[in-house]
């Protein structure tokens, strides 16, 4: 691995730090996402643990320079292993006034603020709806402001190539990149390689970007603005080969793996919707894995086509987000009745209705559990981080195919677009997913499609198998034969059986891991808040508080040991990015007076706010302990 010193040796003093959180903000046109991705990958390559949080504007391309058009990318790289992209920013790069004002709140005091000083003209301020320049009016007083005339510096750097200012200005982000890379002693080699590949067809553009990158680096090295550079040592991650994965990517790969492990061809029926679309895009590229992707006319067709494929013996999958999942309710209800394996993904986003499509939330939990007519039980599993999507998907398919049931897999916008290092699994050592189909039946003997095994799963008989011809449908069916039945007792029996089957899944769930204290306050979390909760609990433990952490992977059924664990603690805190979905389920099932911490702002938890909540309850816990738990809220009216 090339270290900075070999490539562009920096002569300035180096300051060692454990971790750094940087956010790059500019116009959606400014290529901030690209800049961020490069910084992330390079940091990962240099052995840091990394976590990222991209923040897209809702519009495709809102007018240049407006607040609505600001695109941000936050990355944290550290020498210890980390679970979140960080709370407060150590550094903010703002390419224009809109980017500055919309992001400044997150920059910690005396944090580094790098701006393109040439993008603060009156017209720029006007676009950002600002009367005065934040650089002059004291707004930025608390920070270490570094004004860089990026536009002209970049133009100069590429002048010889005379490409015209329009193209020259497009290189600005590489200039900024060079500067940031210098500041944090990042290796520029991978990015130079990236430039070569990406602009292979446009050699002069490639050269311009290379020069801009170098110019930015040199600027840091030569100017007086920077006293020191910062060095983040490699993290002590378990040995192995790593790559950086985004949540939806790991999810798609998990599907490929599950398909191969079970030797079932993968079928995806989907209709595009943010933030789930990328799964469709990714899988549509894996045709050589035998993956069939079907972009349906709507979500109803998406789920129904998947059920049809499941009937035919495929590993059937359908992906969507809130509004689309709502539309699939009826179809999923049929899958419950048919008892066919099907994976339904809900990549949650801000709701209700169209809500906040590009923001994250956990507010679909109760919908996926209860959003169907009649008694319609479905297992629900939730991924906790980008890389965790890989194993979650494999586990989901193992259960769905074993129990012949549709299953919900929950992710969210934060996981889907976030990235973290992932240790590549040894593919050969992944345990296979055995699936059996009954062979040809006996002529003249009626086949019994609803005769169940010990786990209450029915057989998966495939069309094409002689003498197993059978009809399934949405009307209540007779036990064993599967014929239509209106018999009252049979209906009760089938309702109970479908419920018991899902409950049986608990037998496949490993014992629950409890991190931290044996008593005191238990923090119970699920899904994408894992990183923030775990970090908050660790910090609180360091401060000597009696607090423990349990993170639920299974929302239905619950692990069988959960009730016993809950009773071991005096207080239970359930932080959720909703108004308390899991909290309701836990209170109803275990009658424990669990407190909730609710945040519904389209944003993930910050570690600090969780630590605050933990302190609130952990201390109350040392006190009377009888204070009634209340649903706290991050609302500020």
């Amino acid at each position: 691995m090339i270290t900075p010193n070999e490539s562009f040796p920096s002569t300035k003093p180096v300051q060692q730090v454990a971790g750094v959180t940087v956010r790059l903000a500019g116009d959606s046109g400014d290529g901030m996402q690209l800049l961020g991705t490069q910084l992330t990958n390079t940091s990962a390559l240099s052995g840091n643990d990394v976590a990222t949080f991209p923040d897209f504007p809702a519009e495709i391309r809102a007018p240049r320079g407006t607040r609505a058009g600001v695109s941000g990318f936050q990355v944290r790289f550290a020498s210890e292993d980390i679970f979140t992209p960080g709370d407060g920013l150590d550094a903010l790069v703002a390419m224009n006034p809109a980017a500055l004002v919309t992001n400044l709140a997150d920059l910690r005091d005396s944090g580094i603020l790098i701006v393109n000083s040439e993008s603060f003209e009156d017209k720029d301020l006007k676009l950002a709806k600002l009367s005065a320049s934040p650089l002059e009016d004291g707004t930025v007083a608390r920070f270490r402001l570094i004004k860089v005339p990026m536009t002209s510096l970049t133009r100069n750097a590429v002048a010889e190539l005379n490409l015209g200012t329009k193209i020259a200005d497009r290189c600005k982000n590489f200039f900024a990149m060079g500067l940031v890379f210098w500041l944090y002693g990042r290796d520029v080699e991978p990015t130079l390689r990236f430039i070569d590949e990406k602009f292979a067809s446009k050699p002069d553009i490639a050269e311009a970007n290379r020069r801009a990158l170098r110019a930015g680096w040199n600027y840091g090295e030569t100017t007086e603005s920077f006293a020191t550079t910062f060095q983040v040592a490699p993290a002590r991650l378990p040995g192995g080969t790593y790559c950086n994965v985004m949540g939806n990517e790991a999810l798609a790969w998990g599907l490929l793996a599950a398909s191969q492990l079970s030797q079932k061809p993968l079928f995806l029926g989907s209709y595009p919707i943010t933030p789930a679309s990328d799964i469709l895009h990714q899988l549509s590229q894996y045709k050589n894995f035998g993956v069939r992707t079907f972009q349906a006319e709507d979500e109803i067709s998406a789920v129904c086509s998947a059920i049809g494929a499941a009937f035919g013996g495929s590993m059937a999958v359908t992906t969507s987000s809130g509004p689309g999942v709502a539309l699939k309710s009826e179809g999923i209800g049929l899958a419950v009745m048919l008892e066919l394996p099907l994976i339904v993904f809900d990549i949650q986003r801000g709701g209700p209705s169209t809500g906040l499509p590009t923001k994250t939330e956990q507010s679909d939990l109760l919908m996926v559990l209860f959003g169907r007519n009649g008694e319609s039980p479905i297992p629900v599993i939730a991924a906790r981080s980008p890389s965790d999507c890989f194993n979650t998907v494999i586990e989901a398919w193992r259960v769905a195919s074993r129990f012949m049931t549709p299953i919900f897999v929950l992710s969210d916008g934060y996981i889907a677009n976030g990235a973290e290092p992932w240790r590549l699994p040894d593919v050969k050592s992944l345990p296979p997913i055995p699936i059996e189909h009954p062979g040809p039946g006996k002529p003249g003997e009626a086949y019994l499609p609803y005769q169940r095994d010990a786990q209450l799963a029915r057989p998966w008989a495939l069309p094409g198998t002689p003498e197993l011809m059978h009809r399934i449908g949405g009307l209540e069916k007779e036990d064993v034969t599967g014929n239509v039945s209106y018999d009252p007792k049979n209906h009760q029996h089938m309702v109970n059986t479908r419920a018991a089957k899902v409950a049986n899944i608990a037998s496949m769930i490993p014992p629950t891991e409890v991190e931290g204290a044996e008593h005191g306050l238990l923090v119970l979390s699920w899904g994408g808040t894992y990183g923030a909760c775990r970090t908050a609990v660790e910090q609180s433990l360091q401060r000597g508080l009696a607090v423990a952490h349990v993170h639920l992977r299974w929302l239905n059924p619950f692990p069988s040991d959960l009730g016993e664990i809950l009773r071991r603690y005096e207080r239970v805190l359930i932080p959720e990015l909703n108004t308390g979905h899991l909290r309701m389920l836990i209170r109803a099932k275990f009658l424990v007076d669990a407190a909730g911490y609710s945040k519904v702002q389209g944003k993930p938890f910050s570690v600090s706010e969780l630590v605050e909540q933990i302190e609130r309850l952990a201390s109350a816990n040392n006190g009377s302990g009888s204070a009634p738990a209340r649903q706290a809220s991050a609302a500020t009216r």
């Binding site: 991650l237 069939r292 086509s305 998947a306 013996g313 449908g473």
Partner: protein, 338 residues
């Protein structure tokens, strides 16, 4: 093609379930004819799948000794698309009603047809919602008085054949429940077509819309109210085949074949015409102004969705080699932690 296979009988396709339609329902005849057609197709029961939505007509799959799904209202084409895309080896039939296919299911109907997925859609058109006991449907005529339209329907009806043609259908036909031989022949041709085959069947609901098609089934009237489409033949009809259809510009007219008009002045049917305007024009011939065409309106070749999809898979494997996880994962920027 069926010769080198063990010979099947209609009864081989009958399930053990008692049929539960009203006595006298037109569905019985369609069921009977279907059972007669299937043995001739050379497809085993286990390789045949019937998928339906919800409605009286959609009870159909229960009565067939094949694989089947009695799915949800209006969505049968979507289930069929998923199944056929992944199992091109199966013969997939969709059984639907006028409400199921054209009301709640209109969108899936359109898209299955335009994709030309290789399935056979049979629409039982009784111009009424049977199962829900008699509300008007998208094919009910204006003014039709039903439970939900006591003052008569004000919805202008859809013409299923026109809609299918506009949706780029490659096979479109019409038949009638009680015209057994014609229905058998029509179903057979639909089954033989590769791509989406759409067959509209006029079906009598003798409980909630009795006699809707009497003028097409009545011994006395049917020769003058029906126009049998025959590929390459002029459009002639009438008890004594003494009437024909002639084009006047783009406007069809009925002419008497009393010697004043020569046969070759008539419009000749060409079901294989690449352009769809001929088929569309025929779909506009409605009783009482014109006899209504039955038979095959359109029958053209276009690669089916399932074929194209599976070709892309084959090509991808040929070009990129069978997918390998190891190398896929490694293909992105990786680094090693000792």
């Amino acid at each position: 093609m069926s010769i080198d296979l063990p010979v099947l009988k209609p009864t081989d396709f009958a399930s053990d379930q008692d049929v539960r339609w009203c006595p006298g329902c037109g569905d019985y005849s369609i069921l009977a004819q279907m059972k007669k057609v299937l043995p001739d197709l050379g497809v085993r029961p286990e390789n045949t799948v019937f998928i339906s939505g919800i409605g009286c007509s959609s009870r159909f799959p229960y009565y067939m000794n094949t694989y089947g799904i009695h799915s949800i209202h209006g969505r049968a084409p979507a289930f069929a698309t998923g199944l056929k895309s992944t199992r091109p080896d199966l013969t997939v039939w969709v059984i639907t009603g006028d409400g199921d296919a054209l009301s709640i299911g209109g969108n899936h109907f359109l898209h299955a047809i335009r994709r030309n997925i290789d399935i056979n859609i049979v629409l039982f058109n009784n111009s009424i919602y049977g199962l829900t006991k008699g509300q008007y449907s998208p094919t009910s005529p204006v003014g039709h008085r039903t439970k939900s339209t006591p003052r008569g329907s004000i919805d202008y009806p859809l013409n299923p054949i026109s809609v299918a043609i506009a949706a780029e259908a490659t096979f479109v036909a019409r038949s009638i429940d009680v015209h057994a031989p014609h229905l058998i022949e029509t179903l057979r041709r639909a089954a033989e077509h590769r791509g989406t085959s759409f067959v509209e069947v006029y079906q009598n609901c003798n409980v909630f819309n009795d006699g809707a098609w009497d003028h097409f089934t009545g011994k006395e009237t049917k020769d003058d109210t029906l126009l049998h489409l025959e590929h390459g033949k002029p459009l002639v009809f009438g008890k004594n085949r003494d009437k024909g259809i002639r084009l006047h510009g783009l406007v069809p007219e009925v002419v008497q074949l009393d010697g004043t008009v020569a046969l070759d002045e008539l419009l000749f049917h060409d079901e294989a015409l690449a352009d769809s305007q001929m088929a569309f024009l025929l779909s506009r011939l409605r009783y009482p102004h014109f006899p209504e065409p039955i038979g095959v309106f359109r029958n053209v070749k276009r690669p089916s969705y399932d074929q194209l999809l599976n070709d892309q898979i084959t090509d991808a494997i040929a070009e990129q080699g069978a997918g390998d996880l190891e190398s896929l994962f490694k293909s992105s920027d990786t680094w090693v932690v000792p």
